[in-house]
C-alpha cells in the first residue's frame, strides 16, 4: 500500500540472496508495522509500540562475536565489509554441537527466483548440519502479500512464517500478534546465550521483533542506510562517454540522449524509488517511517512538496519516452535481468544485492558487462537527504501452536543461519556444499550453476548475522557496495519513529492502501498531480488527521529512538 521502495532495500541488502528478481520489486507495498503494547509487556493491547524499560525486560542480551575482523568496519550505519581472501581450510566452527533434535519444521517464506526441489543437495546439507528436517514452502516474493492474508486466516498455519515488514499491511500485524508464539521464554535476557549466534545479533534488530508487547520474531538485520541503488551499465556509459548525472535535470537530459527506441534502447526503468531519494521524500517502506515531527507538527510523506515534486519528475521521464516499455507493466513486468544484460535499458533502481548478483550472473558469458551504482545527489545537485530505513525488515515468526520441541528446533535453525562470516556455518548457508555448489579457485569460492540455482534466499530468511557484505569472488564489488552505503549514510537522517515496531489502530489500517497505485497512475500519465492532492485531502478527512494525533501522542509518550 504505501509505496515504497525502500523496503526493498532492506531485506536483502546484506547478501546476495536475491539472486534473480528483486526484492525490491516485491516491495510493492508499503508496509505497516507493528505493534505493541504501550502499557507493558503483558498487556493485551495491540496498538502502539513497546520501548524503554518494558522493551529492556524482554530483549535478548547482546554478546558480540566477530570471528573474522572486517576489512571495512561499519561507518555511517553501513554494513561491515569483507574483501580479503578467506582461508577456506581454517574456517571456524560457531555451532560445535548440533542443537537440532531431528524434528520436522515447515517454513513458509517469500522467494525471489525459481525455488529448487525440496530434496536438493543444498537443503539436505543444511538440514544435516542443523539436525532439523526443514520443509520449505517457498512462495513468490513479488506477490507474497497476496497469499499471506489468506494463509494466516486459515487454521493451518505453517510452523514458521517469514514476513517482510513491507507486507505488513491491513490486518497482518493483528494476525501476527494472535497467531505467533512469544519467544521471550527462550530468548529474553541471558536465555539467548544458549544460541550464541543469535546473541550476536544487534539489539536494534531485536527491538523490531517486539510486537504486541512480546518478542515474537527472529530478525534479518540490515543496514539502516537505504539499499535502493540506481544501478547502471558502467561499461556502456564508458564506451559512449556518458557522464553520471548530478541533478534531476541532468538525469532527464542524459536519459533523452541515451534513448533510441528504434535501436531498442531506452534509458531506464521506473525511477520512482530514486526520485524519492533525490527529492528527500520520507521513506514509504513502513507506515511509521513516513511520519516525521517538523517544527512540532507531525507530517506525513504524502503531504510534503517533495513527494509531489518526485512524482512530477518521474512522470516527466515516462512522458519523455525514455522509460523501457516493460516498466509500464508494473509488478507483472518480466525480470529486468536479461534485458539489462542485453542493453535494452542502462539504468534501473533496485536492491544493492543486485550489484553483486548481476555481476556474478554475467561474469562468464558476458565479460564486458559491468554493473555499478550511481551516487544519489540532491535533485538540484546539492547534498541529498536520505531517510533511514529500519535496522531489520524481514522477520520469521513461529506458530503459537508449536510445541516447545518445535520452537527449540526453529531456534537451532536460526542459530546456524545467523552464524557470522568466517565460519563453516556461514559458508554452508551462503555458498552450499563445496564441489557441488561452489568450487575453489585460487582460494576464492566460485558458485557453480547448481549453486546459483539452489543456494538462494531460503535459509537466510530465518535469521541472519549483523548486516554483512562479503563476496570473496568479487571483492571490488563488495568494497564499492560498502563505500556506497557509507557515503549515503553520511546524508542519512532518521525520522521520528526510526527503529520502532509500531502497530496502528485497526480503524486506520486501510487508510493509505491506494496511494502506491495512485503514484503509478500519475507517473504513467493516467492521473494528474491534482488527483493526488485530492486524495491527500480525502485521506486527512477520513482519518489522516486523527492518525496524526495518534502518532503525536505515541511520540510524546514513548520518545524517539532516532538520534
Amino acid at each position: 500500500m504505501t509505496p515504497n521502495a525502500a523496503s526493498a532495500s532492506s531485506g536483502p541488502s546484506r547478501r546476495s540472496f536475491l539472486a534473480s528478481t528483486a526484492v525490491a520489486t516485491a516491495a510493492v507495498a508499503g508496509g505497516m508495522p507493528l505493534l505493541a503494547a504501550c502499557g507493558g509487556a503483558d498487556s493485551g493491547s495491540r496498538e502502539g509500540t513497546t520501548s524503554g524499560k518494558d522493551a529492556k525486560k524482554i530483549l535478548p542480551a547482546y554478546v558480540a562475536s566477530n570471528v573474522v575482523t572486517p576489512d571495512i568496519p561499519a561507518k555511517n550505519g553501513s554494513p561491515i565489509g569483507f574483501t580479503s581472501k578467506l582461508d577456506l581450510t581454517t574456517l571456524k566452527t560457531s555451532v560445535p554441537k548440533k542443537l537440532g533434535k531431528g524434528g520436522k519444521v515447515t517454513i513458509m517464506s517469500p522467494f525471489w527466483g525459481s525455488p529448487p526441489k525440496q530434496d536438493n543437495p543444498y537443503y539436505k546439507g543444511m538440514n544435516d548440519l542443523i539436525g532439523v528436517d526443514v520443509v520449505w514452502q517457498n512462495q513468490d516474493g513479488n506477490t507474497y502479500d497476496q497469499k499471506l492474508g489468506a494463509v494466516l486466516a486459515s487454521s493451518d498455519v505453517p510452523d514458521v512464517v517469514v514476513v517482510p515488514s513491507w507486507n505488513m499491511g491491513g490486518k497482518i500485524p493483528s494476525a501476527i500478534i494472535s497467531k505467533f508464539a512469544d519467544l521471550g521464554p527462550y530468548l529474553s535476557g541471558d536465555a539467548v546465550k544458549e544460541y550464541p549466534n543469535l546473541a550476536a545479533i544487534p539489539t536494534d534488530a531485536w527491538q523490531r521483533c517486539i510486537i504486541g508487547g512480546k518478542l515474537r520474531g527472529l530478525p534479518m538485520p540490515q543496514s539502516y542506510v537505504t539499499g535502493i541503488v540506481p544501478l547502471y551499465r558502467k561499461d556502456i556509459f564508458d564506451k559512449e562517454g556518458y557522464e553520471v548525472p548530478r541533478t534531476a535535470d541532468e538525469f532527464l537530459a542524459l536519459a533523452k540522449e541515451i534513448t533510441n527506441a528504434k535501436a531498442k534502447r531506452w534509458a531506464c526503468l521506473d525511477m520512482k524509488w530514486t526520485a524519492w531519494q533525490m527529492f528527500g521524500v520520507l521513506s514509504g517502506s513502513e507506515k511509521p517511517l513516513g511520519w516525521n515531527l517538523v517544527d512540532g507538527k507531525m507530517i506525513n510523506r504524502i503531504e510534503t512538496e517533495e513527494y509531489l515534486e518526485a512524482l512530477e519528475w518521474t512522470r516527466k521521464l515516462f512522458a519523455a519516452g525514455v522509460v523501457h516499455p516493460d516498466a509500464l507493466m508494473g509488478k507483472n513486468a518480466p525480470d529486468p535481468g536479461p534485458k539489462f544484460a542485453a542493453g535494452e535499458f542502462l539504468i534501473y533502481s533496485n536492491n544493492i544485492s543486485q550489484w553483486w548478483s548481476r555481476t556474478a550472473e554475467q561474469a562468464t558469458q558476458n565479460p564486458e558487462f559491468k554493473i555499478w551504482g550511481m551516487d544519489v545527489h540532491g535533485h538540484d545537485g546539492g547534498d541529498p537527504t536520505v531517510w533511514a530505513e529500519q535496522p531489520a525488515g524481514i522477520f520469521a515468526y513461529v506458530n503459537k501452536k508449536a510445541s516447545e520441541a518445535v520452537i527449540r528446533d526453529v531456534l537451532a535453525v536460526a542459530n546456524v543461519t545467523a552464524a557470522p562470516y568466517g565460519t563453516k556455518e556461514y559458508m554452508m548457508t551462503n555458498y552450499g556444499v563445496e564441489g557441488t555448489h561452489y568450487t575453489v579457485k585460487d582460494g576464492v569460492p566460485i558458485k557453480t550453476t547448481a549453486g546459483n540455482n539452489q543456494v538462494m534466499n531460503a535459509y537466510v530468511m530465518v535469521a541472519s548475522p549483523a548486516a554483512t557484505l562479503a563476496h570473496p569472488d568479487f571483492p571490488e564489488v563488495t568494497k564499492a557496495q560498502v563505500e556506497w552505503q557509507q557515503r549515503m549514510g553520511a546524508f542519512t537522517k532518521k525520522s521520528s519513529f526510526f527503529g520502532q515496531m509500531i502497530t496502528e489502530p485497526a480503524r486506520y489500517t486501510n487508510l493509505s492502501n491506494d496511494f502506491e497505485q495512485l503514484e503509478d497512475d500519475i507517473t504513467r500519465g493516467r492521473k494528474k498531480i491534482s488527483d493526488m492532492q485530492q486524495a491527500v485531502s480525502d485521506w486527512k478527512k477520513k482519518g489522516g488527521d486523527q492518525l496524526r494525533d495518534w502518532y503525536k501522542k505515541l511520540l510524546d509518550d514513548n520518545g524517539s529512538a532516532a538520534s
Binding site: A153, S178, W266, P325, K401, R526
Partner: protein, 348 residues
C-alpha cells in the same frame, strides 16, 4: 476461466445460481416427465417411491452442491460485520466474535467511487465481449462446419481449440512479446519510421485488448456446442431448401440459424448470468499495466479489498451485491428468452 487460482470465497458463494441449477432441475424434471399421468394426482409419497432410484442417484451431487455451494453462502454474514479472521484459529469462532456493523459496509460501497468504477468497467467489458465474442464463435462454427474434408477439419479444430489450454500468464506473455511497447510490432513500426504502439498499456483501448485476448484464447473452444447443434440439423432440410432454389446464404439464414436458435438463447442466458464475471485472472495480471481506473472489475475489486487488504467484511458486501445483481440478470434474461419462444434455462 474465472474460478482458477485465487480464492474468492465471497464471490463464489454469492453466485450460487450459476452452479446450483444443474442438480436442482433433475428431481423436477423426473417428475414432470409425463408418463401420461397428471402429476397433481399422485401423493408426494407415491411420487417419492416411484422415483426413489433416480432420487438416490442425484443424492451425491445434491450433497456436494449443498456442501460446496450452499454452506459457504452462510459465510456472507461477514458482509454485515467488521470481520477479523485473525482473532481466532477457527473461522466460525471469528465470525461469532467479530463486531456487527449492520449495513455500514454496504453504505461504504455505495459511497466508494472505486466500486462504481469497477461496476462500469465490468459492464463495458461484458457488453463488448457479448457483442464480439458470440458472433465470432457462431461464425467460426459455421466455417468449420462447411469444411468437408475430415482431415482438414480435424486440423483446423485442433488449432482453434489449442489456445484454450494455455494459461493466462502464457497468453499475456505472448501478447506482450508481440504487441508490447518493445514487442515485435512496435519494433517493426519503429524500424520503418513510425511510432511504436502502446497496445498493452493503453487504458483507453484496454477493453478491446481484453476482448481480443479472450477471443484468441477461447473462441475456438466456444464453437464446440454450436458444432454439436449443427450436426443435429437434418440434412433433408438443406436438400429441400436447395430444391426450392435457396442459395448458400439463404440456406444458412433459413435453415442453419433457426436450428441454432435454442442453443444461442440458452448460451446467452447463461452468459448474462455470468455477466459480472469478466475474466478475473486475465485482468488481475494486467491490472498494473493500465491501472485500476481501467482494469478494476468487480471480481478484482473484491479480491483487492478482501484478500490483499484483509478488509473481508467490505469485500464480502461487494461480492454479495454482485451475486444479487447476477441473479436478477439471469431471471430477466430467462424471461426474455421465454418471450422469444425459447426454452431458456428453466421454465416453471
Amino acid at each position: 476461466m474465472s474460478n482458477s487460482t485465487v480464492p474468492r470465497s465471497g464471490t463464489e458463494a454469492s453466485t450460487p445460481e450459476k452452479d446450483g441449477k444443474t442438480p436442482v432441475v433433475p428431481p423436477g424434471g423426473a417428475t414432470g416427465s409425463g408418463r401420461g399421468r397428471g402429476q397433481g394426482k399422485l401423493s408426494l409419497r407415491l411420487r417419492f417411491r416411484r422415483d426413489r432410484v433416480l432420487l438416490l442417484m442425484t443424492l451425491p451431487a445434491v450433497l456436494l452442491v449443498l456442501l460446496f455451494n450452499y454452506v459457504p453462502i452462510l459465510g456472507n454474514v461477514v458482509a454485515f460485520q467488521e470481520y477479523d479472521p485473525y482473532i481466532s484459529d477457527n473461522g466460525i469462532v471469528s465470525i461469532l466474535n467479530s463486531p456487527w456493523v449492520g449495513l455500514e459496509n454496504f453504505q461504504r460501497i455505495f459511497d466508494d467511487s472505486a466500486f462504481w468504477q469497477a461496476v462500469e468497467n465490468t459492464l463495458v467489458l461484458f457488453f463488448l465481449q457479448l457483442v464480439v465474442f458470440f458472433p465470432v464463435t457462431i461464425l467460426l462454427a459455421l466455417l468449420i462446419n462447411s469444411v468437408v474434408r475430415p482431415r482438414v477439419r480435424a486440423v483446423a479444430q485442433a488449432v482453434l481449440y489449442l489456445p484454450h489450454f494455455f494459461s493466462w500468464v502464457l497468453v499475456i506473455a505472448v501478447f506482450q512479446q508481440m504487441f508490447g511497447g518493445a514487442g515485435m510490432l512496435s519494433q517493426l513500426l519503429r524500424q520503418h519510421g513510425y511510432d511504436g504502439l502502446d497496445i498493452m498499456t493503453d487504458p483507453n483501448t484496454f477493453p478491446f485488448l481484453i476482448t481480443s485476448q479472450s477471443v484468441w484464447k477461447d473462441a475456438g473452444w466456444g464453437i464446440i456446442v454450436f458444432l454439436a447443434a449443427l450436426a443435429s440439423v437434418p440434412q433433408d432440410l438443406y436438400e429441400a431448401a436447395a430444391m426450392d432454389g435457396a442459395n448458400r446464404w439463404r440456406r444458412i439464414w433459413h435453415v442453419t440459424l433457426p436450428a441454432l436458435r435454442p442453443v444461442i438463447a440458452l448460451l446467452l442466458v447463461l452468459r448474462v448470468g455470468d455477466a459480472l464475471t469478466v475474466g478475473f485472472e486475465q485482468i488481475l495480471l494486467q491490472r498494473d499495466a493500465v491501472g485500476p481506473g481501467a482494469a478494476e472489475v468487480l471480481d478484482t475489486f473484491v479480491w483487492w479489498n478482501g484478500v490483499r487488504n484483509q478488509d473481508f467484511g467490505y469485500a464480502a458486501a461487494a461480492g454479495l451485491v454482485k451475486g444479487v445483481v447476477s441473479l436478477g440478470l439471469v431471471l430477466v434474461a430467462n424471461k426474455v428468452a421465454h418471450l422469444m419462444g425459447e426454452q431458456g434455462v428453466y421454465r416453471k
